[in-house]
Amino acid sequence: MPVRVYLADEIMTAHLLGDIDHHSSREIREEIDERAGRAHPSRLVMDFRDVTFMDSSGIGLVMGRYALMQELEGELVVENMPEHIKRVMKLAGLDRLANMESGRTRR
């Protein structure tokens, strides 16, 4: 499983693992959405510390979870992005699309 999901109080942390591409993002998305749909966390933290590779599928994944947390009236926080992943986010212009200052995307 390319993601481990923990819940503490109202904060859900999705610890992402390995490569994020079209193949792995489906499983990650399903797991997070299923858990968040049941628990209704006030905050979802996507922790990228152990992500080894990411392409535009990862951008779709973050944007989709942003929409999910808006629906649940909570906030999304993106944490611990390695340099190479920040680069993909920037090259794709996500820092302009979403408010991602210092690695945080807030509602």
Partner: protein, 150 residues
């Protein structure tokens, strides 16, 4: 310019092969002594093109994706990624950032934009009903000149 090395690869358009494809291309270019950043750039661009063949070209039916990669004496890498799928009606429009025909699959519409920022040149040839070929050009920094021409 004459190529210094070449490889050809074909594989089924299953999503599990996306990581195989980008890793295989990365392994092929190690002879050019690339930096970590250069490897990551090329892996990402290849992953975008291969995913497009699987998701859009073949629309999740299982067919064959073809890759040819060649290296040149000036440390250029040219990678062709091809499908025989549905093709693209309007290439210019398809390449616009945020344009996607598949938003329900959580596609961002940024694949081509990423390929263009990660490569020196991106060429797209496509015919509706026939398929699509994406050609990525990327020049690597010259390091360790002497053993680059084996």
């Amino acid at each position: 310019m004459k190529m210094t090395n070449q490889m050809k690869l074909s594989f089924l358009s299953k999503s599990v092969n996306e990581s195989f494809a980008r890793t295989a291309v990365a392994a092929f270019i190690t002879g050019l002594d690339p930096t970590m950043d250069e490897i990551t750039d090329i892996k990402t661009a290849v992953s975008e093109a291969v995913t497009n063949c699987i998701v859009h070209g073949y629309r999740d039916s299982v067919q064959t994706v073809y890759i040819t990669a060649a290296t040149y004496p000036d440390n250029r890498v040219v990678i062709k990624i091809k499908d025989k799928g549905c093709g693209i009606e309007d290439i210019e429009k398809a390449m616009e950032p945020l344009y996607t025909t598949c938003p329900e699959g959580e596609r961002a519409g940024l694949g081509f934009a990423l390929m263009q920022s990660l490569c020196d040149k991106v060429k797209v040839a496509s015919k509706p009903g026939k398929g699509t070929t994406v050609t990525l050009h990327r020049k690597l920094a010259m390091r360790g000149q002497d053993d680059s021409q084996e």
